[in-house]
């Protein structure tokens, strides 16, 4: 017989149970009893939809148990972390006709329900005679039943030994309407070796991004025929190809469910695999095939996934060593030199942007004054170098802010000519650069009526730095006005000797009132 647990009850006949913070009687473990494997699978199916099983799996044990009359049932044991978890398990179990218990070790008493919101306790434990040799004893309203364990059922057995079920509307015989809703961003194709080149070529011709790896199933006999196939990862597969591959014998389309496991399109696993990722070894790749009704386990050492190769490298291009005639040898000779003088002439074109200016030394004071008027953001873009003729200021974004000196525009990168002039003959920038011997690490300036000169890039420095005098900065010690950060402190208690009569003279009463 079971007794209802009362609020604030502290003593119980069931061993290893105690009320939790809500007052609900809870043992270390929860137990759910199912009469058949269908109900067991249904339980995990619903539970995996509602909560990640990864948190629960380390403590889950599934056992096939039998009664003294040899009827076999399934008992799911899990760590009862909280009564919320047990409530959820009890609700799902009730839906499937299962019974929920709580306890620890051997004795499990019925978990709470609407009739007794704080749970149940047994009036007395089952006698040794009735429970002798039993691994578990469950106490329900109407019965007390000992169970003996037949075998353990691992959770991975549920994952890997259950067949994927067809999804209505997505199966191999459904037409495009159902398949159009499939997420086609990333899919996997399982291609039999004979079809590999054709499929890869087809994808390449249709500009579908694909990577492929040749894989072999694990665990096959060394003496048997080695069955290997091509795993192709495709991106944004068009619907028409999805339909085509879905109907093509020798090709299966899979969708990724987790990092290293895929399920065939049109099928779904009875459990929600995303919520039990800890079952899958990171160094393996799992292929759940619906039509073949198998699970292929592929070794992927290092946990980095399959060693994929871009599909375009695998496309057969029908190379032939006799495709072309052998290369013909041809001689070469230096062309005849045609010397043409490069001249600066006034240009009919509108002037280009002024990107350099040469400020004569006589205008240096003007330049200093202007520097204070130029916005700091503009000033940072200007670089200056001192040459014999004055200060050469260059700015890639233009030096319009300095209306001083001889203006230059850029005829080619790092080659400056006066504004309103151009070279004759009109050569390309590359030829001009070659003609001046390259501009690597230097700036070439062509002036009117004077010889061109070059300035090393290292001679340039920011204009602001050049024009400002150096300031001596006084260093100051750290101020303690804001207070030092408080170091972590610890207080310990030491009990002093107080003599044989420590309360001698002690007087209690009310303390003095605070004003």
């Amino acid at each position: 017989m079971l007794e209802h647990v009362a609020l604030h009850q502290t003593r119980f006949n069931t061993p290893g149970v105690a009320p939790d913070t809500r007052g609900v009687l809870l043992g270390k473990q929860g137990a759910v009893l199912f009469a058949s494997v269908d109900k067991l699978v249904g339980f995990f199916r619903i539970l995996s939809e509602e909560t990640p099983l990864d948190d629960l799996l380390p403590t889950v044990k599934i056992a096939q148990v039998k009664t003294p009359l040899q009827s076999r049932e399934f008992l799911v044991l899990f760590h009862a972390a909280s009564s919320y978890l047990c409530d959820r398990a009890a609700r799902i179990a009730r839906l499937l006709g299962g019974l929920t218990f709580t306890g620890s070790g051997k004795h499990f008493v019925k978990y709470r329900d609407e009739a007794s919101p704080l749970g149940y306790d047994v009036d007395q434990l089952a006698s040794d005679a009735s429970g002798a040799g039993a691994d578990f004893i469950v106490y329900a309203d109407a019965f007390t039943q000992p169970y003996t364990k037949v075998k353990d059922v691992s959770f991975s057995q549920l994952v890997f030994r259950l067949s994927p079920r067809p999804v209505p509307g997505e199966g191999p015989r459904s037409r495009a309407r159902g398949r159009a809703t499939i997420d086609r961003e990333l899919l996997w194709l399982v291609v039999q070796p004979g079809l590999g080149p054709s499929v890869l070529t087809y994808l390449w011709r249709n500009r579908v991004e694909a990577e492929a790896a040749l894989v072999r199933r694990e665990g096959e006999s060394s003496f048997g025929a080695q069955s290997s196939y091509l795993m192709v990862r495709v991106h944004r597969l068009p619907v028409r190809m999805l339909d085509l591959f879905g109907d093509l014998p020798g090709v299966e389309v899979h969708r990724p469910v987790g990092e290293n496991f895929v399920v065939e399109v049109g099928y779904r696993h009875p459990l929600r695999l995303e919520s039990c990722q800890s079952v899958f070894d990171k160094e393996r790749f799992y292929v759940f095939s619906g039509r073949r009704d198998t699970v292929d386990v592929i070794a992927a050492p290092g946990g980095a996934g399959l060693p994929l190769t871009s599909g375009e490298h695998l496309v057969a291009a029908n190379f032939d060593l006799e495709e072309r005639r052998p290369p013909v040898a041809a001689g070469s000779s230096a062309p005849e030199q045609v010397a043409v003088t490069l001249r600066l002439v006034p240009s009919p074109q509108p002037p280009r942007r002024v990107t350099a200016t040469l400020v004569a030394w006589t205008h240096l004071e003007w330049l200093k004054r202007l520097v204070f008027a130029v916005p700091p953001t503009v000033l940072t873009g200007y670089r200056v170098a001192t040459v014999d003729d004055g200060l050469l200021v260059v700015g890639a974004q233009g030096v319009d802010g300095l209306p001083l000196g001889e203006m230059f525009q850029e005829a080619a990168p790092s080659i400056y000519i006066p504004v309103g002039f151009e070279f004759l003959p009109r050569v390309s920038e590359a030829v001009l650069t070659d003609h001046v011997g390259g501009v690597q690490g230097r700036v070439i300036v062509f002036r009117r009526g004077a010889e061109p000169f070059a300035v090393e890039e290292s001679a340039f420095e920011p204009l602001g730095r050049r024009m400002l005098g150096r300031l001596e900065i006084e260093s100051r010690p750290r101020s303690t006005r804001a207070g030092e950060p408080r170091p972590p402190v610890e207080a310990m208690v030491a009990n002093d000797p107080v003599g044989p009569l420590p309360l001698w003279g002690f007087r209690g009463g009310d303390p003095p009132e605070v004003a």
């Binding site: 509602e50 972390a81 919320y84 402190v489 207080a491 310990m492 009990n495 420590p502 002690f506």
Partner: protein
């Protein structure tokens, strides 16, 4: 042994760290003597500096804490509480009735008038800020014919003599005085009285087994903007992963329907913490789609409660101006989704019902100083 000074040997280490010496209980007569006595000025200066340092971390421009009667009463209450765990308190000469008298006096001493003045509350906290971490070194000496325990005392040298011959072995372990007192039948009421006397100490140390954090009795303080900010920032500095579970448990306790006002305040405080966490500078890393709760159901509830607030009544989880900013609104939605994923859809649904039943629609502006 030289006579101990209460200020120098108990109060100074209590506020500034060190070894606090516990002797015979002080009682009413001792308290009167301490109030009227002329104390050592250097010890008082040390106490003032240590308390000012603690207060300076909590209030920017607070008044320096004074060593007044309130401070003295808290110190005496704590001293007499610690005496209950003195080894001589178990002596045959000490009757249980007398110990109960000591406990009654200590609890009465700890009860101070209610106040919402930030300076006063911080000053009280500076006296007890080390109380939750107060420890004691217990020594167990085993020798060939038995073993002896010493609580907060050094074993006598005669007991340690001839260690090889007598096979003497010492085991030292640190015992938390707070946990010991909070679970003791005589000590628990004094701990509660100390927390009632210094509610900031209660709020700033929310992670503990007993007594559990309760926001209802502290509602008056949390309605003060400066104090509420102080508490919230201290929790954020400690890390929501650490305090979140205790806070969620306290908020759930307020959702029992006893007070709608307190339930609203508790929910608003929780949402405020989430928003502060959300508005903190973000790194370039992708935002988590699920928070690491480490299997702690209370911490899951901390996240689940925010998801429930966002689901049951969106204006309850964030002020309206947050949602008017598209960028903030998007981040808020992502955060709520991550909270929901952490807690699980089923639990969020349960919490939504609790929130809706206890609090009803709530504007976050109910939280003082939320702006």
């Amino acid at each position: 042994m030289a006579k101990r000074s209460f200020i120098a040997d108990f109060v100074r280490p209590l506020v500034g760290g060190g070894t606090a010496h516990v002797g015979a209980p002080i009682g009413r007569a001792g308290l009167d003597k301490l109030r009227d006595a002329e104390h050592d000025r250097s010890a008082l200066a040390d106490v003032a500096v240590a308390r000012a340092a603690v207060a300076g971390e909590l209030l920017v421009d607070g008044a320096p804490p004074l060593f007044d009667l309130e401070a003295l009463r808290l110190a005496v209450a704590l001293h007499d509480l610690l005496f209950l765990f003195h080894p001589r308190a178990d002596a045959l000469s000490v009757r249980d009735a007398r110990l109960e008298e000591v406990a009654r006096f200590a609890a009465a001493c700890a009860r101070l008038p209610d106040t919402r003045d930030a300076d006063t509350l911080v000053a009280r906290h500076t006296m007890l800020h080390l109380f939750p971490s107060l420890g004691r070194t217990d020594v167990q000496v085993s020798f060939w014919v038995g073993k002896r325990e010493f609580h907060g005392e050094e074993p006598p040298k005669r007991l340690l003599a001839w260690p090889n011959l007598r096979r003497v072995r010492q085991e030292r372990r640190r015992v938390g005085c707070f946990a010991e007192a909070a679970s003791h039948p005589l000590g628990a009421p004094i701990v509660r009285a100390l927390y009632d006397g210094s509610p900031l100490t209660d709020l700033l140390h929310p992670v503990r087994l007993e007594p559990k954090l309760a926001l209802g009795p502290r509602a008056a303080i949390l309605r003060e903007p400066a104090l509420c900010r102080l508490v919230a920032y201290a929790w954020l500095a400690e890390g929501v992963e650490r305090v979140g579970g205790a806070l969620a448990t306290a908020v759930l306790a307020e959702l029992d329907g006893s007070s709608t006002e307190n339930a609203r305040l508790a929910c608003a405080l929780l949402a405020h913490l989430h928003l502060c966490q959300l508005l903190a500078p973000q790194t370039r890393e992708a935002r988590p789609t699920r928070f690491a709760a480490g299997g702690d159901p209370a911490l899951r509830d901390f996240y689940g409660l925010f998801a429930a607030l966002d689901k049951a009544s969106p204006d309850l989880a964030a002020p309206p101006d947050v949602r008017r900013d598209a960028r903030l609104a998007r981040r808020l939605a992502e955060h709520a989704a991550a909270c929901a994923a952490t807690s699980g859809a089923q639990r969020v649904a349960e919490l939504s019902v609790l929130v809706a039943r206890a609090g009803g629609p709530l504007a976050l502006s109910a939280l003082p100083g939320a702006g």
